[in-house]
């Protein structure tokens, strides 16, 4: 099935009724994750490279639907589910979704989910440094410093070239490569490469 065929399930009254049985955001998210229609949405989004864009477009159009301002937004649950599905599949796109769902009026869960998504450090949009290459399987995880918090992320995520980093603080690896990488705020100081790790760290900041 195409991703478009999943939209009616998420926007159905049945979906809203079930997920709205939650009183708090953690319970709301646990109900969403257990909903088969949401699981299908995530699976189909993983299978279709154009799905995130389609979901973003769906979010945009639903956010702009005229509503009766006396009441809560009837698309609140669906918009929240779309944003959370993108969070599962494409965190960068989820940030855009979060910004879009905040434009929908009279929402309840959307506001909370957007706040949560937007609070997460925006690693991709940092302008100080980029890791551009990456040959190795040795490095398994790296610690990165975003604007405020320290995070760990898989090396594979970095090696896909999708992440721009504020500052790499430390790598975790099986060998001795790249540990304690010395970075200053705007410039990477390459470490001598070991024979097993031929990573090249390039700063563009």
């Amino acid at each position: 099935m195409s991703i478009d065929d999943r939209f009616p399930e998420i926007e159905a009254p049945a979906f809203s009724a079930v997920v709205n049985a939650a009183s708090t955001l953690p319970v709301f998210l646990s109900i969403i994750l257990a909903e088969p229609s949401f699981q299908r949405l995530v699976e189909d989004t993983l299978d279709d490279m154009h799905a995130p864009t389609k979901i973003l477009e769906r979010i945009r159009s639903l956010s702009e639907v005229h509503i009766n301002f006396e009441y809560e937004n009837p698309h609140d649950a669906a918009l929240s589910a779309y944003a959370w599905a993108l969070h599962k599949v494409s965190p960068d796109t989820a940030r855009i979704a979060a910004e879009r769902i905040t434009s929908a009026p009279n929402t309840w869960w959307c506001t909370q989910i957007a706040a949560r998504l937007l609070r997460e450090p925006n690693l991709s949009h940092s302008k100080t440094a980029t890791i551009q290459h990456f040959a190795v399987n040795v490095v398994t995880n790296i610690y990165v410093e975003a604007s405020k918090a320290m995070h760990t992320m898989p090396w594979t995520f970095v090696s896909q070239g999708r992440v721009q980093l504020h500052r790499v603080v430390k790598t975790l690896n099986a060998a001795d490569s790249c540990t304690d990488a010395a970075w200053n705020r705007h410039r990477v100081v390459p470490k001598p490469q070991s024979s097993t790790a031929r990573s090249q760290w390039v700063a563009n900041g």
Partner: protein, 177 residues
């Protein structure tokens, strides 16, 4: 919601929050929710009834949640499940560990697992006698299911995500002397 997703929301500085405090004067964070469109409320009732035939609807409104029903007289939503233990403590509730001592008017707290996160709350409205010797009494509960209605239900009949672990609390007082 976990630790202030939206800065100041529900706090004393939030003009949209109602003044709500425990017996000891501790502010209870709360957020007022708009009513849902009537057609959506109707759909919620139909869906819940479809899933749980044994439920009885008492009322349908989205403007309060389960904690708001139990601790705020249906006036608002208490949105931080982590606050519930503070409320119980400040309001002089005691945990009733012996189910035989649970009575009408006591509060039931649901947890995601026996020692897990607090997920739901309700009020005991009926104590059903033991079905057989050696069996425990069971309880009928009144609770608000998020925005999907206030339901009378058996203590075990809730959405799985509303919790499987249950604890009972009571603020009952007796006259001494």
């Amino acid at each position: 919601m976990p630790d202030d997703l939206i800065i100041g929301e529900g706090s004393e500085q939030d003009r949209k929050a109602i003044k709500l405090a425990t017996k000891r004067g501790r502010w209870i964070k709360n957020v007022r929710r708009r009513e849902m469109p009537p057609e959506q409320l109707r759909a919620a009732v139909e869906v819940v009834r479809g899933k749980f035939s044994a439920l009885t609807l008492r009322s349908i409104s989205a403007t309060y949640n389960c904690y708001g029903m139990v601790f705020a007289s249906r006036r608002t939503c208490i949105v931080d499940g982590n606050e519930i233990l503070n409320i119980l403590s400040d309001d002089e509730y005691l945990k009733v560990t012996d189910r035989r001592r649970v009575n009408v008017g006591d509060v039931v707290i649901y947890r995601s697992a026996p020692a897990g996160e607090i997920t739901h709350a309700g009020i005991v409205i009926e104590k059903r006698p033991r079905a057989s010797a050696g069996a425990d009494a069971t309880f009928m509960i009144l609770s608000q299911w998020g925005a999907s209605g206030e339901w009378i239900h058996h203590e075990e009949t809730v959405l799985p995500q509303l919790g499987s672990g249950r604890e009972f609390y009571s603020e009952r007082k007796s006259i001494r002397g």
